[in-house]
């Protein structure tokens, strides 16, 4: 394990509740943030099994009730598979809406250094998103942001976006593997790894090669139904995704499942 840090990082939403979150203005969903400012359950370092999840709006569950968010569905399936009590598994979801692949890899690693998890599940986001550093400020770069048009129009390319996504996946994969943390990563655009249009690019091809043999789930979340914000995938789509993701997680992390069963005996 890398050098341990004393505490998790928190965000300013700590211990708050709100009815509006990012593009969800429906008022139908309650967003409750724990003492660290993340949506979902409180940290319980003494839980038998600790799972970390991270991603963007798909993973924080914009427009979805907590029980319908895919990592929560994943947790329920895990509890059933290993035959433990719900409180034996502590799922911490460090996602934040509209965030980038830089955020996902960086935050997951940082939180894992505070308390090593038993497993990590992530859903990487759209390749165009990144963090732009200006002095100590982190600017979240989004194509949809009008004030950032110049950057995307003049400097951004889809190839650079893809390389940034692949670098972040690779960084987190190396972190997990070097620290013996079972993992599975999915993503909103993870299938681009298999897209011939991009892998003929010699630089992208190198990153794709680096990722060969990684625990990746190539199923992308579908928009079968819609969440309360009418934009994001709805409860059925999240459930369907979690089911496929969980199946792959079990197949690719058999040792983890066996050990988790023993821990819960």
């Amino acid at each position: 394990m890398h050098k341990k840090v004393d505490e998790w990082i928190a965000n300013p939403r700590a211990e708050s509740t709100q009815k509006v979150y990012n593009c969800d203005k429906s008022g139908k969903i309650t967003y409750t943030f724990n003492s660290l400012g993340f949506r979902g359950e409180e940290p319980r370092p003494n839980a038998k099994i600790k799972i970390y999840a991270c991603g963007c709006s798909y993973t924080i569950g914009t427009g979805l009730s907590v029980e319908h968010i895919w990592p929560n569905v994943f947790k329920q399936k895990l509890v059933k598979e290993i035959g433990c009590k719900e409180e034996d598994v502590n799922l911490l979801n460090f996602s934040s809406g509209a965030k980038s692949n830089d955020y996902i890899a960086r935050t997951t690693i940082r939180q894992s250094l505070a308390e090593k998890p038993d497993g990590i599940v992530c859903y990487f986001t759209h390749r165009s998103r990144s963090e732009y550093l200006k002095d100590v400020e982190v600017i979240n770069m989004l194509i949809s942001n009008k004030s950032q048009e110049d950057y995307f129009a003049q400097y951004y390319t889809i190839e650079n976006g893809l390389v940034n996504m692949l670098k972040n996946i690779y960084l987190l994969k190396l972190f997990c593997e070097s620290n013996n943390i079972p993992y599975l990563f999915g993503g909103a655009e993870i299938n681009l790894i298999n897209n011939k249009k991009f892998i003929t690019n010699p630089v992208i091809a190198q990153y794709v090669d680096f990722l060969k043999g990684s625990n990746l789930c190539f199923t992308e979340m579908k928009y079968g139904d819609r969440a309360a914000d009418e934009m994001h995938p709805g409860p059925k789509s999240a459930e369907e995704y979690a089911t496929k993701f969980f199946k792959e997680f079990v197949e690719k992390n058999k040792d983890f499942i066996e050990k988790a069963k023993e821990k819960c005996l």
């Binding site: 989004l142 949809s144 048009e149 003049q154 889809i158």
Partner: protein, 45 residues
């Protein structure tokens, strides 16, 4: 140039190249295409 050299040419390219500044029309066209890849509209978080 043999195939091996051709395929690796892109890895060691272009020293000192200048990026072409896009015109307003070109920039708008590029943005329209880029925004298609991200289906969701978000306010800045």
């Amino acid at each position: 140039m043999d195939d091996k050299k051709k395929s690796s040419r892109g890895l060691f390219h272009t020293v000192g190249a200048k990026l072409k500044k896009l015109s307003k029309a070109e920039a708008n066209k590029k943005l329209k295409l880029l925004r298609k890849e991200d289906p969701n509209i978000y306010p800045v978080d």
